[in-house]
């Protein structure tokens, strides 16, 4: 989903699929509560006396002889509580098992088999879901004569009315798993259907099944309690609900006998809470995004600019390039580290100068730190990534030097997009799916140009779209109504909306097909000439950079290993890695369609890309 963050994500030790939740205080408390209440339900009845023994000391408060007091008829509340807990737990687990089996049948098998079976199963579970459960249970129970209302009857009725929600969740997950590669592979390999379900599918569904089981158990206990409280529960059963029913009918509330009606509810609430806490941990297996608790971003931390980092005239950078006054962005000795267990130095001591109006290509293979660098320049990196040293300076149009790393929260906000904007890799996901193109262009203006009137903003948005060759009528469209190329054009229009001085392009065309790529790049180059912004172009596509950029910086393992003009890189690459990169692209023209040929000293001519493909600009893109 987020290919954009792929470069950013800190490497995590590779582990197989997780089946057991990670140990955490939440899980410990949850398991603790469940175990204690479970044991109480199992062993409690043995320890306490007869729950039904009637004494002539009605409704006494807790005391030494009756730890939780007595009921109206002098029965020991603690003894009743033990038996009732056992009753409630057993019915909850019973219903949980039955309902989970039902939901697995309808959810997993249905969606795996597919076709008409799936349609029918899915319709059935959706119907069961919208028909209110408890009223149905009440009606069914009411028609069953009280004498025939055993625990099993109640359990079956609760299971029948309680499986649908889980089935829907399981179906969605199965459908998504079904199309994964390893399942497909197993199917293609001719494995038996039940084997694919049992061996390949189920283990992956296990966390979800467990979580749904937990939900049904809570739901069943609550429903049973409600039913029994209403006097519609199983005959002759002792559950927490019947206890509450007796308490209600014995006017426990009116007579202030809290020891009678508080404990049963408390047990249910605690047990439900325990299950929910365990469920938290299961959820974290299902959805890893919930797992990592980030340290808070300290957005308003202000750092005084260190004088040494101030760039004065003509400072000499590492590679000997002399900084002239035309610089718009200077990065000096920047290092970014992911502070994980094994810290990853993603960017190491990088220095870069971007001149006004130029295109600087930042080239490297994936994982070399180029995206991390780009994000750090805009301070978009989030914990655990941290800038450990260096400086970033934007030389503003009106002569001020802005120390990007020293901005406070508001200054940073004002700086972003206004001075420096970005076009991200995944045009598919970079736009908000539920807002119109217009709203997403417009909020840039309302935020950064509050003085503009509504009409002016509209005019500006329309103009920006025209600039990138998109019909302004598309302002009304939602992102999903546009093609991929169109969306990326919209992103570019958005990036240019405030006429920034620097535009960061992070593999802006990687996800698009070649023809569309060409059209968009052509457009960008034209706009760069017209508007004069500088571009930091991040890509792994060295031939492309040779074609479009003025200068190229080659990055490897977080360091800039070579920086030179495009011509120099093409003609005389100095660093072996640059040569390596050049050689790893097959040439379409030369007969030496070289792939990686390490060690050979080849000049770059062969790797020059062919002349630009025939123009396949806007005409080639069609609106979906």
């Amino acid at each position: 989903m987020t290919n954009l963050n792929a470069d950013l994500a800190a490497p995590r030790p590779r582990s197989g699929r997780r089946v057991l939740p990670r140990w955490s205080p939440k899980l410990a408390i949850g398991v603790g509560i469940i175990v204690v209440i479970g044991l109480w339900g199992l062993a409690g009845p043995v320890l306490v006396g007869d729950p039904d023994a009637i004494r002539d000391i009605g409704l006494t408060a807790p005391s030494g002889s009756h730890l939780l007091g007595t009921t109206q008829t002098g029965q020991d509340v603690l003894a009743q509580l033990a038996y009732a807990t056992r009753g409630s737990l057993s019915i909850g687990v019973l219903v949980g098992i039955m309902a989970t089996l039902l939901s697995a049948l309808f959810g997993i098998v249905g969606s795996y088999v597919g076709g008409l079976v799936d349609e029918a199963f899915s319709l059935l579970s959706n119907l069961m879901l919208v028909i209110p459960g408890l009223p149905l249970v009440i009606v069914i129970s009411a028609f069953v004569p009280a004498s025939a209302r055993g625990s099993w009857t109640i359990a079956v009725v609760l299971a029948i009315t309680g499986w649908a929600g889980s089935a829907r969740v399981l179906r969605a997950q199965t459908l998504s798993l079904r199309n994964r590669d390893y399942i497909q592979a197993a199917r293609v390999a001719g494995e038996k259907r039940w084997r694919v379900i049992g061996v390949e599918l189920l283990p992956n569904l296990l966390p979800l099944l467990a979580s749904q089981f937990v939900f049904t158990v809570i739901g069943a206990i609550l429903s049973e309690t409600g039913l029994s409280f209403l006097g519609l529960g199983a005959a002759n059963s002792a559950t927490l609900g019947t206890m509450l029913n007796y308490a209600q009918n014995g006017f426990a509330l009116q007579r202030g006998a809290w020891w009678w009606f508080v404990p049963p509810g408390l047990i249910i609430a605690l047990f439900g809470c325990g299950l929910a806490l365990v469920n938290f941990s299961i959820d974290e297996i299902i959805n890893p995004r919930l797992r990592d608790i980030p340290r808070r971003e300290r957005g308003n931390r202000r750092r005084e600019p260190r004088p040494a980092e101030r760039l004065d005239d003509g400072a000499v950078l590492d590679d000997g390039a002399v900084l002239d006054n035309g610089a718009v962005l200077t990065v000096r000795h920047l290092s970014v580290t992911y502070r994980t267990e094994n810290p990853v130095h993603a960017v190491r001591d990088v220095s870069l100068v971007l001149r006004r109006g130029e295109i600087l290509g930042l080239v490297g293979e994936s994982g070399c730190g180029k995206t991390t660098l780009a994000y750090a320049i805009n301070r978009l990196h989030r914990p655990p990534a941290e800038v450990t040293s260096g400086s970033i300076t934007l030389h503003d149009r009106d002569g001020d030097d802005l120390d990007v790393l020293a901005f406070d929260r508001d200054e940073l906000r004002a700086f972003r997009w206004d001075r420096l904007s970005m076009v991200f890799q995944g045009a598919m996901n970079a736009l908000n799916p539920v807002l119109t193109i217009r709203a997403q262009l417009d909020d840039v203006l309302t935020t950064h140009r509050p003085a503009m009137s509504r009409g002016e903003r509209h005019e500006r948005c329309a103009e920006a779209l025209r600039l990138v060759g998109v019909d302004p009528r598309r302002l009304k469209a939602y992102p999903h109504e546009l093609s991929g190329g169109m969306r990326q054009r919209v992103m570019i229009a958005m990036a240019l909306l405030l006429e920034p001085q620097v535009v960061l392009l992070d593999e802006p065309t990687t996800a698009l097909d070649v023809v569309v790529q060409r059209g968009i790049l052509r457009e960008l180059l034209r706009l760069r000439t017209a508007l004069g912004f500088a571009v930091l172009f991040i890509t792994h596509d060295l031939p492309l950079m040779l074609e479009v950029s003025d200068r190229i910086a080659v990055m490897r393992d977080g360091r800039i290993v070579e920086e030179a003009t495009a011509e120099q890189i093409a003609a005389e690459p100095r660093h072996p890695y640059t040569r390596h990169l050049l050689d790893s692209f097959p040439s379409l023209l030369g007969e030496r369609g070289a792939f990686i040929r390490a060690g050979e000293d080849e000049r770059g001519e062969a790797a020059r890309p062919p002349a630009a493909a025939p123009d396949g600009g806007i005409a080639a893109e069609e609106v979906r």
């Binding site: 919208v130 028609f143 908000n432 539920v434």
Partner: protein
Amino acid sequence: MRYYLRKLAFYAAALWGALTLNFFIPRMMPGNPVDILLAKLQQRGANVGPSARRAYELLLGGNTDESLIHQYFAYLGNMLHGDFGVSVSHYPTPVATVITASLPWTVALVGIATLLAVLVGTGLGMVAGWRRGTWLDALVPATTVLAAVPYFWLALILVAVFATKLGWFPLLGGYDVALSPGWNGAFLSSALRYGVLPALTIVISSAGGWLLGMRNMMVSTLAEDHVLTARAKGLTDRRIMVWYAARNAVLPSVAGFAISLGFIVAGSIVTEQVFSYPGIGSQLLEAVQNDDYALMQGIFLVITVAVLGANLLVDLLYALVDPRVKTTG
């Protein structure tokens, strides 16, 4: 348009399913409810003619010679006319009248309480997800206790504290019986005062679910690329939180409304019982206790129709909040 038609068709099917369930449940169960019913009526001195007997037999089944199919269509016809028969416990008031009198109470109570719970729950969930890892977020697991509390037990506790002990709110009922119901200030404010504790019960027990769902979706959504774009755009935190994160994160909660509503309806039936609230839930239980099968079935149908209607409404709203469904789904 296709989306709306599909939804309408689905809810029509659901309604038909509920009607059919309603028809078959009494017929599948042991015992003869019609005889019990008629015996009760005769106890009350009602003169039950053959036409009344047939009406009950259509509703509940019995040993008639009519074919099941024939009974079924006659039953559907009666239901469509709103003819649910005569209530036994309120004899000779028709079931429809009993329902009409009690329905507004429940609709108002459950409607307002649900709205409040959704607003409070999603609002807090949004902030908790946004401020992940702070003290606010750390409180989230605690809300699961509230979600696991049985509604009626919470109601009992609230009554014990706020009505019995502190005397802030009335113990039970829907309004001060000294007043006559009507659209006047005295009655409405009394109804409001009586409604506070039942509504509070529903809000407290259901808001937790909304909070948790919203919080988890916020966390997922915040990792999405468009949120990163929004940050790069230099938008205010507030705008990013509401329009980029929450606006997307709320969609699954809306889509899952049906499940939540089921729980709320179930909870409110029992809650009404605790407060002797003059709503449809109390009425249902009274019907059950009096073997008033006709009233019971009528109420089941009305609750079902109301729930289906609410879900349909939410589904239609969903098309407004998620522009994608109209083209893809």
